[in-house]
Amino acid sequence: MSECCENVELFDLRAVNTPAWVTGFVDTASGRVPVVTAGWSRPDRLGRLKCRLFNSFRMNYTVEAGIYALGSPNGRSPVLVTANYKLSFDLLRRELAGFDAWIVVLDTRGINVWCAAGKGTFGTEELIRRIGSTHLSGIVEHRRIILPQLGAPGVQAHRVKQETDFSISYGPVYARDLPAYLASGCKATARMRRAQFSFKDRLELTPMEIVPAAKGFLIFLAAVFVVFGLQPEGILFRSVVQSGLPVALLGLAALLTGTFLTPLLLPWIPFRSFALKGFLLGELATAPLIFMAGSEALDDIHLILFSLVFFPAASSYLALQFTGSTTFTSISGVKKELKIALPLYVAAAAASLILLILYKLQEWGML
C-alpha cells in the first residue's frame, strides 16, 4: 500500500462501519479525504471517560494518520496539525465547530501532542513526511500550517520551512482558544501561550494516579493478611481483624493522600518538592488516625513507629509520581528530588521491615 493513500484505502475497506464522526468524503488533489464533523457522539464522550480511567484503553485510542476535512474547506482554509491520539483529535475538531479547516494528523503512536513532542514522535521528520504524503501543497494554495504550541518541543519550524516551504505558526496551548486565535488572524495573546494547571485539570488526571496505585494496594492487602494473620498456630482470621484492619485502613489513607489529595491541593501545600508535599500530607492524614486508634488496635510501640514511618513515605512516593502529569516540573528538578528522596525511601522501607519483624517477635513472646 503506498503511503499517500493509506487513510483513503482504510476507510474504503471499512466503508460498512465508518465511525460516526466521519460524515462523508471529498475529492482533492490528494485523493479522497474523509470529512469529519465537529460534533461528539456517545462513543466519543465515552472514549474520553475511558481514557481517564483505563491505561490499556488510552494507550490504544487512535485515529489513522493523514489529512481530514472539517466542514467544507477549500484551498484558502487553515491547516491544523495534531496527534493521532483520538482524544487530542476529538478535542481539536470539537473546538473548531463552525470553521472550515484541514486537519493533518501525525502518527505519534497514539500519544498526545505534549508527550509525543517530548519523545520526538510529534516531530520535524514526521511532519515533513506527512506534508509530503498528504500532498498538502496540492490541497491548499497558501503555505502556512498551524501547530499546537505544545508540539514545539519536537519540531524545528525553520527546518520544516526549508524542506517543505510551509511556515509554521504555533497556535494556542489549548484548543479551546483556537476560535479566537483564528478569528484574530493567527495572533495568540500572552494568556493563550501559558500552560495552566487548574483544579479541574488536576482532578481529571487523578484517576490515572489512583487506579495504578490501587493495583499495588491489593498486594499490600495480601501482605497485611499474611503478616498480621500469621501466628505460631497458623494464619488466624481474628488477629488479621484486630491489628491488620487498622493497618489496611492507614494504607488506604496513604494511598488517597498521595494520589488524590496531594495532586488536588498542590498549590496550597507548603514546600516545592512533591516528595515533601506528599510526606507532609501523608503524616497529617495518618498520624492522628494512629493516635486515635489508641492502645486497642495499634497496641505495640513497634507497630506505631512502623505506621509513622511507612505510610507518610508511601504517600510521598505516590505524590512524586504526579510530577509527570503536571505542566510545571522540569527533569533537572525531578532528578534532584529523586537523588535525595530515593535513598530515604529505601531507608524507610528497611526501617519499616525491621519494625514489623520486631513487632511479630514481641507478639510471639520472643523478645
Partner: protein
C-alpha cells in the same frame, strides 16, 4: 505554580540572539521577555526544560538539557539503565 529553584539547565547566549522572538512564541511558561532588540531570561525558575525554545531557535542562541519532568520516567531510566523514558509510544504499554 513554580517548581524547585536554581536547578534548570537553561542558557541564553546573548551574542547569538537576533531578537526574532520565536522563543517567546513557543515557551509555555513565560520564561523569556524582550529586552530592547534582543531576548532575555525573565524568570529562569519557571523553565520546565521542555526544549521548545532551543528546537525552534534557528540561531542556536539557546541551550537546555531537555527532558520530561516525570519521576516515573526517571526511575524507569535508573532501573533499565540509559535515558529516562516512560515507555509510551513504543512497544511497552505503560505510560507517563
Amino acid at each position: 505554580m513554580k517548581y524547585l529553584t536554581n536547578v534548570v539547565t537553561l542558557e541564553l547566549i546573548p551574542e547569538r540572539c537576533t531578537g526574532c522572538g520565536r522563543c517567546l512564541e513557543v515557551c509555555p511558561r513565560e520564561v523569556f521577555g524582550k529586552n530592547g532588540k534582543t531576548v532575555r531570561i525573565v524568570d529562569r525558575d519557571r523553565c520546565i526544560e521542555c526544549g521548545a525554545c532551543m528546537m525552534n531557535c534557528s540561531f542556536n542562541a539557546i541551550r537546555v538539557t531537555a527532558g520530561v519532568g516525570c519521576a516515573a520516567a526517571v526511575i524507569n531510566g535508573l532501573i533499565k539503565g540509559g535515558e529516562p523514558g516512560c515507555g509510551c509510544g513504543g512497544n511497552d504499554k505503560s505510560c507517563c
